[in-house]
């Protein structure tokens, strides 16, 4: 097994060739904030929160999709990175309607956690207060597009783990939204098996179980990684 050694925030770490900087950081115990990354599905590099600096490279590198190579010297908490991450989170908050106090995911939301991590208390950008609507047509679940951060974890989990491909991204740019089936109400999409994986995968309160009230949603995020590696590891329970 080929191994690469690198340094992350001063910690030396040896890691299997082909692994990403994010994998290496996890192994070294260095936390890097992420939102679109989820174990069990492929990475897309969309949220840009996991950016890090590598000595000798002028570009900022997204840790989740950049291979860890021999001799890299990585910094994850420079002033610039902290500043940019905070701006990223502010941009996300300003884009949707994130009123945590009345949200199903309050206290259990990855976006909220990241906001705390990067020290964001308010957004310096003007709030856009979109009116993107809610789809409550599914018998068990609902989606509130106003809380969606377009991480596409639901899209990937439904396609790659459940194999149903109910979700996709519709439209472009600021009008982007998560679309069910052929732009149908979720409840009318026959392909949906009601497995609930997208509910667990969603980092925010955008997709939820119907009937949940403030702070009641608890996504089971480790489930995807467990499901996708169960056969390989011969571990059928957890």
């Amino acid at each position: 097994m080929a191994v690469n050694t690198l340094t992350i925030d001063g910690k030396e770490i040896a890691i299997e060739a082909g692994k990403t900087i994010l994998d290496a950081a996890k192994e070294a115990g260095v936390p890097i904030p992420t939102l679109c990354h989820m174990e069990g599905v492929h990475d897309v590099g969309a949220c840009r929160l996991c950016i890090v600096e590598a000595e000798g490279t002028p570009k900022l590198l997204p840790a989740c999709v950049t291979a860890a190579t021999e001799g890299m010297v990585i910094h994850t908490q420079t002033e610039k990175l902290q500043n940019y991450r905070r701006m990223t989170v502010e941009l996300i908050f300003a884009e949707g309607n994130h009123v945590c106090s009345i949200c199903v995911a309050n206290g259990n939301c990855e976006l909220q956690d990241v906001a705390v991590d990067v020290g964001m208390d308010h957004s310096r950008f003007s709030y856009r207060f979109p009116d993107r609507g809610c789809d409550l047509s599914h018998s068990q679940f609902g989606i509130d597009h106003n809380r969606c951060i377009m991480c596409t974890r639901c899209v990937r989990v439904c396609d790659e783990v459940e194999g149903a491909h109910v979700w996709d991204v519709g439209s472009r740019g600021p009008d982007c939204f998560i679309v069910a089936g052929l732009d149908q109400p979720w409840g009318e999409v026959d392909a949906c098996t009601s497995c609930g994986k997208c509910v667990d995968a969603c980092p925010t309160g955008a997709i939820f179980h119907k009937g949940e009230t403030t702070g009641e949603k608890e996504g089971d995020r480790g489930k995807m990684a467990f499901l996708t590696t169960a056969r390989e590891k011969q571990e059928w329970t957890r």
Partner: protein, 548 residues
């Protein structure tokens, strides 16, 4: 088909051609100004005057002087007529026969607009009928393809392209030879060639013109590339807004197949190469190479993180060579004339020529092909004839990804590195001249609006950052922005530039940053004091006062 047969086709075509040729541009620019009627009337006049044995009317591609369309040019006399009206066609034929005068406006074919040009890619543009492969063969077409297939190894072709110093004309300026070498070095197996004809920059029409005027030149370049890197299948990706380019390409592919210049066993060699056309729906982001590949595969045109680069893992996960239309259009010339001859044009680090679409507040609008290293001043003041009733304020290059170069820097030579050094970029070839009445904040606002609409929406900084940048610029223009807003505009610009996933986001703030760099007073003069000061003491940091 072998070389003798190819040359026989050329000879037969030369014998067919009449000694006098009236070239009538029927490309998109002139078509919009009733060139089709001019062409039909010219044809009818030749028929009526029964002079078809001496004289022929030829539908040709763009002559470059599109602002003066419809254009008619006569060989061998080299008479050039501009803004030809359909009713003037008859007298042009009469005048060409030396039997009368014409009212049609004569233009000077030696004027600076033409004189400073070095046609390489556009050598046959406006001279040959783009719908006739025989005309292309008659001017030496497909000889370069023959040469590589029979006399050169793939490695030699790659070396020739490397030695020519050609850099990508799609905007990035990546060395073409290096890209070819990377794809060639990938293990044998299925590989693809893609020709990027998406051309989404507002105001740019260089690639459309090349495809419309000389489609075989692009196909020949792609086939040579296929031979060099070991690919047997190519795609041309053209936007749906270019119907004429698409139909001429389709015709060209059909003709090339008929002659055995495309398909299997080209020139009776083991080399196979076929080309398919893929039509894009006109999203700017689909010009980005990874998004374009997604789009050809039938998926949503979203960029994906690189590496892996398309050269390693591209279309259907196979090694893929993707180049711009103009890049491919240089290849036949490089092979035909040799890398050294090509490299003698241009500067140390930027070889050859570049086509620009010269537009804006300028007398002569149109397409120009200039040698690298020419100064912006020569282009604007001499070729473009300067700004009508006024003075130039800035020149914008690189479209929504580029920047504005102020008039003090007009002596900047046009090459990849110099343009970058002054905060703009070569881009794909848009060049907009702005006069002293232009509001630079409005320009930045215009391009930001474009990027905001065109972002694919995949990554956060580009999707939401462009919206916030746009609204900050709107706030400025409305006279509602404070110094804090301006600072935020700057900081957010850097953030979007440094953290976005693809080139669209990385370059979207460029128009803001370059206008801020050269015209800061236009921004500060729009600032107002924050409301909490209530008209009292100004913060020391704020120097400018409210406007209007």
């Amino acid at each position: 088909m072998d070389l003798t047969e190819l040359r026989a086709v050329a000879q037969k075509e030369k014998d067919r051609q009449r000694p006098t040729r009236i070239h009538c541009c029927t490309s998109t620019g002139c078509r919009a100004a009733s060139a089709t009627e001019v062409y039909n009337n010219l044809k009818a006049a030749v028929k009526a005057q029964e002079c078809g044995d001496r004289l022929e009317v030829v539908s040709v591609g763009c002559m470059g002087f599109c602002g003066q369309g419809p254009l008619v040019q006569v060989d061998p006399d080299n008479h050039l007529y501009g803004q030809v009206k359909p009713q003037e066609a008859e007298s042009i034929v009469t005048a060409t026969l030396g039997e009368g005068r014409t009212e049609a406006e004569q233009l000077d074919p030696e004027q600076p607009f033409f004189a400073y040009q070095t046609p390489v890619v556009r050598k046959h543009s406006g001279k040959v009928n783009p719908e006739s492969i025989e005309e292309y063969i008659a001017v030496g077409g497909y000889e370069s393809l023959y040469k590589v297939v029979h006399d050169m190894t793939p490695a030699e072709v790659v070396a020739e392209v490397s030695n020519s110093g050609l850099r990508g004309r799609g905007g990035g300026g990546y060395p073409t030879g290096l890209k070819w070498a990377t794809v060639a070095k990938m293990p044998e197996g299925q590989k693809y060639i893609i020709c990027n004809g998406d051309e989404g920059d507002p105001g740019a029409f260089m690639d459309r013109s090349v495809l419309e005027s000389d489609p075989h030149l692009v196909l020949e370049g792609m086939a040579i590339a296929g031979y060099a890197v070991g690919a047997d299948h190519g795609y041309v990706y053209v936007r749906a807004e270019y119907p004429l380019a698409i139909s001429r390409l389709q015709k060209a592919i059909k003709q090339a197949k008929r002659y055995g210049l495309m398909g299997s066993q080209i020139f009776d060699s083991p080399f196979d190469f076929k080309v398919d056309i893929r039509i894009g729906a006109g999203a700017f982001v689909c010009g980005e190479e990874t998004a374009l590949i997604q789009s050809i595969e039938g998926a949503r045109g979203n960029p994906v993180p690189r590496p892996p680069y398309p050269a390693q893992k591209g279309l259907y996960d196979c090694p893929t060579l993707i180049n711009n239309v103009e890049s491919f259009a240089n290849i036949a010339h490089i092979i035909g004339e040799g890398a050294e001859a090509y490299a003698s044009i241009g500067t140390e680090n930027s070889k050859g020529t570049k086509i620009f679409a010269l537009t804006g507040n300028i007398r002569n609008n149109g397409l120009i092909e200039v040698p690298m290293g020419i100064t912006l001043r020569t282009i604007v003041e001499e070729m473009g004839g300067g700004v009508p009733d006024g003075e130039v304020k800035a020149v914008q290059t690189g479209g929504p990804s580029g920047g504005c170069i102020p008039k003090d820097l007009l002596d900047t030579p046009v090459d990849y590195d110099s343009l970058k050094a002054v905060g703009s970029m070569m881009g794909s070839g848009g060049m907009v001249v702005m006069d002293q009445n232009t509001n630079m904040v409005e320009i930045a606002h215009f391009y930001m609006e474009f990027c905001r609409e065109e972002t694919c929406g995949k990554c956060v900084p580009c999707r939401t950052g462009t919206v916030q940048l746009h609204s900050l610029l709107t706030k400025l223009l409305k006279g509602q922005a404070t110094a804090t807003d301006l600072e935020q505009l700057k900081q957010l610009s850097y953030m979007v530039q440094e953290t976005s996933l693809c080139g669209l986001g990385m370059s979207a703030p460029n128009p803001v940053l370059s206008t801020l760099r050269y015209f800061p007073e236009e921004y500060t003069s729009l600032l107002v004091q924050p409301a909490y000061l209530n008209g009292h003491a100004a913060e020391p940091a704020i120097t400018a006062t409210a406007k209007g």
